[in-house]
Subunit: 133 residues, 2 copies
């Protein structure tokens, strides 16, 4: 491993890696977002999850506008160093911009041609009452 | 949502989406791999996790050579439809090609300039005694 732990990360051609956020208490997988070198450095320094918004092309501190911060308990890197895993405490228990506790609320039900995605999780806060970011 | 559930997925420019595999029993996040349309279709049909190997540019059924299959309990899609979450039963309890139960065995320890990645998980099967894919 390198002198600088950030050099150990296998950044992709855009200088990013995917980061999975997992609830430290429930174990629930909350979301996947992307990180730049700077956002990972800030995450480690501040212990608050900070991502890279590919649409806005900007550093994006999770919960900066919504208040739904993610306090980082643990930062992990996978075997080929191209994916980050964060174990986080999800403030207000809401990780998704739709106001749900996690982004993975679409469950595949049924099989074959009749399979479809069904939303399974309740909306805890009306989108529009906050903005995330 | 579309008639064909596969059309609801926001495939990237390469026709892929990241897929996170989570242990259905322990809740542990095991790995992240990529899926093509065909690998997701096969995963749903066979209920065995099937990915796309970006290095080999080929469909890759997890455990095909190692025996470390992932039996799929649940398939989820996130809010913007560009990430898949699988809840799986990990055969033999090994998801990583290094012989560990999960790929995220590198933990960031320390802070600032002295931070470093430390391997935390035991090797359960010697790599070389199996090959994965």
């Amino acid at each position: 491993m390198s002198k600088d732990w950030l050099d150990d990360v296998a950044w992709n051609a855009d200088g990013l890696v995917p980061a999975v956020a997992q609830d430290a208490d429930s174990g629930e997988v909350l979301m996947l977002a992307w990180m730049s070198r700077e956002s990972l450095a800030r995450t480690a320094e501040t212990r608050e999850a900070t991502y890279w918004s590919r649409s806005r092309k900007a550093i994006w501190k999770k919960g900066e506008t919504s208040g739904h911060l993610q306090k980082v308990v643990e930062i992990r890197l996978d075997c080929d160093a191209d994916t980050v895993l964060l174990r986080v405490e999800s403030v207000a228990g809401i990780a998704c911009h739709t106001g749900r506790r996690r982004c993975f609320f679409n469950l595949l039900e049924g099989a074959g041609g009749s399979a479809r995605w069904v939303a399974t999780d309740p909306v805890l806060a009306e989108p529009g009452t906050f903005r995330d970011g």
